[in-house]
């Protein structure tokens, strides 16, 4: 437990020292969302109708952007090998890194989302559900993304390949995230969607650290 906090603290310190990553991710999020009124027209009811989907797809893409720094930098300078040699389980190390990643990526996206939802004329009934879906969904995205990032370590064209691998696995999160918001906006109950999102998060928490650790061990062989 203690080690987990240490790993989180280390990665957070490194990320904050860099600083630019969170800013870039949020900036990408904002810029891309702003593109949509230019693309599909500024009519309020069209924007409102598509707001949940636009926000979720863009958040998904934005959180994918920072995935390659999760393991790549440590892999290249050798500190990943050192981390793997410590007595702490590699799975725990992965969890620590993913937590730090989420704190610097998913959390800022969550903060920016309601502001952008206002820009997209999202119905007020959807705001709380938007935050709930992002709270449950963005950690899942970080976890699945971490597994993908571990798999492409040392591969050719790892960045593009990572997107190709991770996006199909993101789709269930997207489906239920948007489904919950749409249900809330229409006045229908969204509990079932949120429960499924929660279930996906639990499943990702249970499975992806193991898969990512296996992939890291292969990369370090």
């Amino acid at each position: 437990m203690f080690r987990l906090l240490e790993i989180i603290r280390r990665d957070l310190r490194l990320a904050l020292r860099q600083g630019s990553d969170s800013v870039m991710v949020v900036t990408f999020f904002v810029l891309t969302v702003v593109l949509f009124p230019f693309g599909i027209g500024p009519e309020a009811n069209i924007l409102e109708r598509t707001s949940a989907g636009v926000l979720w797809v863009t958040a998904l893409l934005a959180s994918m952007l920072s995935l390659d720094r999760l393991f790549q930098a440590d892999y290249e300078d050798g500190s990943l090998e050192l981390l793997a040699l410590t007595p702490t389980a590699l799975e725990l190390m992965v969890l620590g890194k993913v937590t730090a990643h989420w704190l610097t990526t998913g959390l800022p996206l969550m903060v920016a989302a309601p502001v952008l939802a206002v820009l997209l004329h999202m119905n007020a009934d959807g705001f709380v559900t938007l935050l709930l879906t992002m709270l449950l969904g963005t950690p899942t995205l970080s976890l699945i993304g971490a597994m993908g990032a571990a798999l492409v370590l040392g591969a050719r064209r790892g960045g593009v390949l990572l997107s190709l691998l991770v996006l199909p696995l993101y789709v269930p999160v997207l489906i239920f995230g948007v489904g919950a918001i749409d249900a809330a906006v229409q006045g229908l109950p969204s509990q079932s969607h949120l429960l499924i999102l929660g279930g996906q998060l639990l499943a990702a928490l249970a499975l992806t650290p193991w898969a990512a650790a296996a992939a890291l061990r292969q990369a370090l062989e």
């Binding site: 798999l151 040392g154 390949l161 190709l164 199909p168």
Partner: protein
């Protein structure tokens, strides 16, 4: 199981089996095509378009069977490090991708006259499309590394992660009753499909399966030969590096 770990033994076994599976493929698909295209009736509601079913449904079955093969081989390769398991997974992927593609396109051709649309975002169609992306992602990943063993192992983890998609496809039409027809063949109790249509369907399914085995054997043989080539090249490189230089050291 480990008797077959020896590639030479596998190759001998493959040489024996392959002609029979190839023959079975020709006979089964031939019979299926005859019954499906000629000797079976048109459907009461769907007319002649039902004949597309004889390709669409078996290719869906095979798309999922190939992925299962890939996932199981990947697991065997990861857990027991069986040398042929990794090769089998790599060999199965293009076949599965091909069947998924055929399933999607024939389904689209069937859907246009029947549902009035080339595509619909219902659960089963969407998850079959995701399956195609998983296949393509797997093939991209295993070929993205200079060391093929590393590629196979990374692909193994990906194949297992994506296998959660298969139950979703299977049960999606039960959970979301939207557009796609619910299961008619593998229901518990008697299948709710006319025997005159069931027989060609099953024949095509079996024929596609023997086709899969035939092509899989060919592709695994290719992988084995490729790894032999790599081994010879590696020894050549090592021999070249180990050769002493002929230049005397300058005094």
């Amino acid at each position: 199981m480990h008797r077959f770990a020896n590639p030479a033994r596998f190759l001998r076994l493959a040489a024996v089996i392959q002609p029979w599976t190839a023959l079975a493929t020709v006979l089964l698909i031939g019979a299926g095509l005859y019954l499906g295209l000629i000797a079976s009736p048109a459907d009461y509601q769907q007319g002649e378009t039902v004949r597309i079913m004889y390709i669409h449904v078996p290719s869906a079955w095979l798309a999922m069977a190939c992925y299962s093969t890939m996932a199981i081989s990947s697991a065997v390769g990861l857990i027991w490090k069986h040398p042929l398991a990794d090769l089998t997974a790599r060999a199965a992927a293009p076949v599965g991708a091909a069947f998924t593609f055929v399933c999607l396109v024939t389904g689209s051709l069937w859907g246009r006259p029947m549902w009035g649309t080339w595509w619909a975002w219902d659960a089963r169609l969407t998850s079959m499309l995701i399956l195609l992306f998983l296949y393509l992602g797997y093939m991209a990943l295993v070929n993205a590394f200079d060391d093929p063993n590393r590629g196979s192992k990374a692909g193994a983890v990906l194949a297992l992660a994506g296998s959660v998609n298969l139950p979703i496809i299977k049960f999606s039409v039960d959970w979301w009753n939207t557009l796609h027809q619910p299961a008619s063949v593998s229901k518990l109790g008697m299948p709710s499909i006319d025997p005159a249509m069931l027989v060609p369907l099953l024949l095509m399914g079996l024929g596609f399966t023997t086709y899969f085995v035939t092509v899989l054997l060919i592709r695994v043989r290719t992988e084995i030969v490729a790894s032999k080539i790599r081994a010879i090249r590696m020894t050549q490189i090592h021999a070249a590096h180990a050769a002493p230089t002929s230049e005397p050291v300058a005094g």
